[in-house]
Symmetry: C2
Subunit: 167 residues, 2 copies
């Protein structure tokens, strides 16, 4: 296994899996999505999500990302899903969250932020398979007060989600 | 914010929160604990847990740790808890798991591995507060088929768990 070592200070850089925190945010049954202003997948729609920072709780990180990307103040309800995206060594922690009022706008990493009815979600222009998973899994538990969180999609949901990347 | 940069290759080392994966493992109602052979907290009892590796799912990581530390082949049931230990920038992902047979032994990082009845758990010699949280939270849902996973302990459970570190 190759490691990066700093010749100046001897620091060994161990690659560790990274943590992404995000949320499916709804307001009156509609879904908050952000059109990405940056690569990868610039111009495609995603959930508010990003890397957890040092000394931050996972819920605080998800709230921060929604504020940075969508100027949205969200209320975290519970853990929706825990994904392992092994080929890029990411663990994605996705919450179920709500907007208390429809105030939001595009942050610097977003071209546009919108609330979509389920049937209007731009399914052909989603940024990542995990966005597809999280939205569909949310839909399965939307009327439940509590539930066991989801893991990676499999079967038909996985198949369909991979079509996202063909665009 | 200080960052480590390699003067040789220009690699910037970003410190990211690290992911610990582990499990509360039971066999016939008894709890599998490992006495640590290494610091920190050498000689204290812990759950089988450790750092997630690159390209590994969180469940696979929890199974690997149980095998490395306790030579135990565990079956993951579901997600018990997700902890944010912010002062050391760790996210701990704890599963509920079972042993199918009572075969285990100390791996290189353990001095001893044992199954404990609840009342025999060495509460005065636990390694970390999160071990206390996970065991008590497990106890709250042990008869449930599914449940929303726990987050960091608070209130009395948090208070009592911190006594662990006074020893």
């Amino acid at each position: 296994m190759e490691r990066h070592v700093c010749v100046d200070c001897g620091w060994v850089h161990y690659d560790n899996p990274k943590i992404v925190v995000g949320s499916v945010v709804t307001y009156e049954g509609k879904f908050l999505l952000c059109k990405r202003a940056i690569n990868p997948r610039k111009g495609f729609w995603t959930l508010p999500a990003g890397y957890l920072e040092q000394n931050e709780t996972t819920a605080d990180g998800a709230m921060r990302e929604a504020f940075e990307e969508a100027n949205a103040k969200i209320r975290i309800r519970d853990l929706l899903a825990l994904y392992s995206v092994t080929h890029i060594s990411q663990v994605q922690i996705m919450y179920r969250a709500e907007l208390d009022n429809p105030e939001f706008s595009a942050g610097p990493e977003s071209l546009e932020v919108r609330l979509f009815e389920w049937s209007d979600i731009p399914w052909n222009d989603l940024a990542f398979p995990t966005v597809y998973w999280a939205l569909h899994q949310y839909r399965q538990i939307k009327d439940k007060d509590y539930f066991a969180p989801f893991a990676n999609a499999s079967g038909e949901m996985l198949e369909k989600s991979l079509e996202v990347l063909r665009r």
